[in-house]
């Protein structure tokens, strides 16, 4: 073993010992009632500043018509609620498929096909109404996007259910 690596090993051992002592010392000093009280006071001061900044940013956002982080969080929560519902439907599908072996995959594919046809018809209707002005166009685009999202979600649910069923059957 080289002299250099021995020195480094000795140094590491030495530092490890001092490090433990130093850490114990710091933790001991931190575990002091005065430090706890100071931390609480500073936390309260910080809270006041953060609260002020939030209220200020909310006023600015309101004036400029920007969404605040709470607005965005609310939208996220709505998405999560939708996700929960889909999840619930998916679980029910898996359970039904698991319990009722007579339901064939073709039946599910028929259901999926019918859902697709229905959504295609709705899409065609939406496209037909596109010439009715800019306001309607925006509305249609939003509805179209939502429809596509819904369609995809239903498709995913059915596909997941089918794959889970495949696993159940082995």
């Amino acid at each position: 073993m080289s002299d250099k690596s021995m020195k480094l090993k000795d140094l590491t051992r030495l530092v490890a010992n001092y490090e433990k002592d130093l850490n114990d010392f710091i933790k001991d000093k931190l575990n002091d009632n005065q430090v706890v009280a100071l931390a609480n006071t500073e936390m309260e001061k910080h809270l006041k500043k953060v609260r002020f900044l939030r209220r200020f940013s909310e006023i600015i956002a309101h004036q400029f018509n920007f969404p605040t982080r709470d607005d965005l969080a609310n939208v996220s929560r709505l998405v999560m609620q939708l996700e929960d519902r889909l999840d619930h439907i998916e679980e029910m599908l898996i359970q039904t498929l698991g319990e009722n072996g007579s339901i064939m995959e073709e039946d599910l594919q028929t259901i999926e096909g019918e859902a697709n046809q229905q959504m295609n018809r709705e899409e065609a209707d939406l496209k037909a109404g596109e010439g009715e002005g800019e306001k309607n166009s925006l509305r249609n685009r939003v509805l179209e996007t939502l429809s596509q999202l819904g369609k995809q979600a239903v498709k995913d649910s059915i596909q997941d259910a089918l794959s889970q069923r495949g696993n159940l059957r082995g």
């Binding site: 690596s5 609480n40 929960d84 696993n167």
Partner: protein, 336 residues
């Protein structure tokens, strides 16, 4: 990061590029919000009971699959177990209202059901790491799903005698420390605050890992593993505010779990309802979750088959050592 001048020929230790983790092949079989249920198929399936892994809310789950030869998940799959890992992901501000009950009833329980459906197994082995172990205990107490084995690694259950920062706990109990307002304002406890707080509780100064790295700066494999571990050490995630407040008040201050006084959605979490074969593991070098926070669970459950083991190592040593420790292989062999 500043590019420091280096002596010619000296290897670059700290790279700027992102280092990949999680080498074991896997597939997402269920997603909810930020959480994912990952499926790691067994190399050659030999065991009937699959593993359902619940990781902590404090850090990222990739520590369980850090690198080839340093992965507990790889250890399970190589021994013929199918593995399901519930990774809670990285919460954002919009997740501030997620409570402990939400984690149990909306994430863990449906995740376990999915694992059962997917695996076609009759029952599961539930494994909880650190705070994930605490959640696993809560789940096991209310579960309607069949749990054959419950394994806990460094899971804090009894908060009566936390052997560090006693005055902080006292201040929390007596109202001298009130972090609730700030937590509400931030929505989540930021990742940096989590890292800072945990570091203060364990090792505020941490130089030796860097010296160890310096000593093996020509060992590429070691450097890579070191970087991956360092990524995990510094990779804390935000903690949902509501769940954090519950953890502080219901668990740390009132210690309700071990006293069988915890209610989740009006359902009592009674530890006596745990009947699965139980293995509780704590490590000798764990400064964060010492034995006294782990061991008391063993006496509280109804399981006939229960084992408590104290082994060598630190808080995450078992997860990154590579393969499965011998005691775990033996314990599982007879019960899977």
């Amino acid at each position: 990061m500043a590019d420091f001048p280096r002596k010619r020929g000296t290897p670059r230790i700290i790279e700027q590029s992102e280092i990949p983790v999680g080498p074991t092949p896997r597939k997402a079989i269920w997603r909810k919000n930020k959480a994912t249920l990952w499926y790691y198929p067994a190399a050659v399936k030999k065991k009937r009971t699959p593993m359902f892994l619940i990781y902590s809310l404090v850090n990222q789950a990739f520590i369980l699959d850090l690198a080839p030869g340093a992965s507990m998940i790889e250890g399970f799959t190589e021994q013929g177990y199918d593995v399901y890992l519930l990774d809670f992901g990285i919460p954002g501000y919009e997740d501030k209202n997620i409570s402990l009950a939400d984690y149990i009833f909306d994430y863990i329980q449906p995740g376990a059901r999915r694992a059962l459906w997917h695996s076609k197994a009759e029952d599961l082995t539930v494994i909880g790491y650190c705070l994930g172990g605490t959640l696993a205990v809560m789940y096991a107490a209310i579960a309607t799903e069949p749990i054959k084995n419950l394994i806990l690694f460094a899971a804090p259950i009894d908060f009566k005698n936390i052997p560090y920062m006693s005055n902080w706990h006292q201040a929390l109990r007596e109202g001298g420390l009130k972090p609730e307002g700030l937590i509400d304002e931030y929505g989540v406890v930021p990742a940096q605050a989590m890292e800072f707080g945990l570091r203060l509780m364990t090792a505020p100064i941490n130089v030796t890992p860097y010296l160890a790295l310096l000593g093996r700066m020509n060992d590429k494999k070691y450097i890579e593993k070191w970087r991956k571990f360092d990524k995990w050490v510094k990779g804390h995630v935000p903690f949902a505010g509501t769940a954090f407040k519950e953890l502080l008040h219901e668990m740390v201050v009132k210690n309700k779990l071990i006293k069988n006084k915890l209610y989740l959605r009006q359902k009592k979490v009674n530890l006596k309802d745990i009947k699965a074969n139980l293995l509780v593991v704590s490590t000798e070098g764990d400064d964060l979750i010492p034995e006294e926070m782990v061991k008391p669970l063993v006496k509280k459950v109804s399981s006939r088959d229960k084992t408590y083991l104290r082994v060598k190592g630190g808080h995450v040593t078992l997860a990154i050592r590579g393969g499965l420790p011998e005691f775990l292989t033996k314990w599982l062999d007879r019960r899977s």
